[in-house]
Amino acid sequence: MPNATSAAPMIQGVSAPNVVVAPEAFYAGTRRMRFQAKGLTAIQGLGSTESVQLNQTGVLAGIELRVQGTLTFGGTIGTTTMSAEWPFNLPQAVKLSANGQSNLINAKGLTLRAYEFMANPKLDDSGISQQFNGAAVVTGTLSIPSDLWGTTGGNFTAPLTNVAATGTYTFDITFWVPVAADPVYLIGSVYAQSTATNLSLDITWATQNQLLAALGGAATFASAINWQATQVAYSIPNVGGRYVVPDLSTFHQLTDFRQSGLGQGQNFVPLPGVGTGRQLLRTWFQVYSGATPAPLALTATNYAQIDWAFGGSDTPEVYPNGTMLRAEQIRVSGVDLGGNWGIALHDFASQFAARDAVDEGATSNLRHEFNLVNAPTSGYCIAAQETLFAAPVGA
């Protein structure tokens, strides 16, 4: 006698009755949706954390964030300098947890913006003028035309740049939170069509000390910051009496972390969380150095050999110096990631992921290796990794 109470199929750990995996039927029948998860709202203040429960609808592919507002400098400006955390790292940590998986996304704003340029070849920052390190720069800023990094009159708030005068500086920046690894086939997206689904987005904002490298002795500072979030999801169509979904057997993860204690010569930065069933799509790092930490440009002057390695001494790809890697990643991503922001990228996904992606089950002790020509000052590294891993219960 058939079991009349057999369990409903599970997708990503969530009960999903009457749902079948049929990618082609899904693509033909679904509809792209874009709806508000959080209206434009003032943050509680710098250093605070905001949380929002996302809507339980469809298949979640990504989230658009917008952060806008003003920075107001009063009194006597003196020597007031923005740090390298401004503007992209105003969101110090964007965290997405879904269906029991915490930290699917756990990344700084710069990590999100850099990833967008790596993964989306349509983006191009060439010709967009921004201030960087005290000078006007027209490429490699990772800026898009809709960005406003902070202006008042002819003055700017820009990374590693002095604020010229008091005033109220207006800024407006957007970020894309990549829930899916692939925006076309939706690999890595999250099944959200269930009341059992738990989707939470948490954002921790930078502190004043993180944003400002220096504030003039007689200067004052105040901020008024708002944020909003929009979900991009796809409806789950009913085809022939069954609900159909794409391949939801994997989760997509983008995380970053910090490692200090860097020195002149060879440095090793192990990737955390490496394990069987994980596929590494991209990983990158920046090295910060200086009393006011600034990213080291990816050049032969700053870097000797750069590679990624695993096991004892397996080094599949070796770049003789920073300039060589910088040129390679321009060819792959179409943007100069290393010139200003000093990003050193190993990209296993842009050309042919099924061929190049790294199976972490066969690459224990996966790590970055790089050789610094000069001793960094209080050097530390911000590294990021993008992976795919099997969902708890595959669709």
């Binding site: 992921a353 099924a354 795919l388």
Partner: protein
Amino acid sequence: MYASEMFGIGAQGPSYGVAAPTQAMGSGMLDGGWRSLLDPDNPLMWFGVVLLVTVGAAGVAGSIRLGKAKLSASLDKE
């Protein structure tokens, strides 16, 4: 499109527990060379059957008469 196709995750490698295509092809050619002569689908097999019957009949003579019955047979014409 599945994750295994696009990103290689969970992709199954070839199974080396069964014959590789080249091995199968090799053994198949040998079998085809000899055993196919006994295959009913092979015209050569039927040609062979007809040939054997014809040659065999030359060494066998026989007659049947249905009037006043006569039935004779011979296995050797000598």
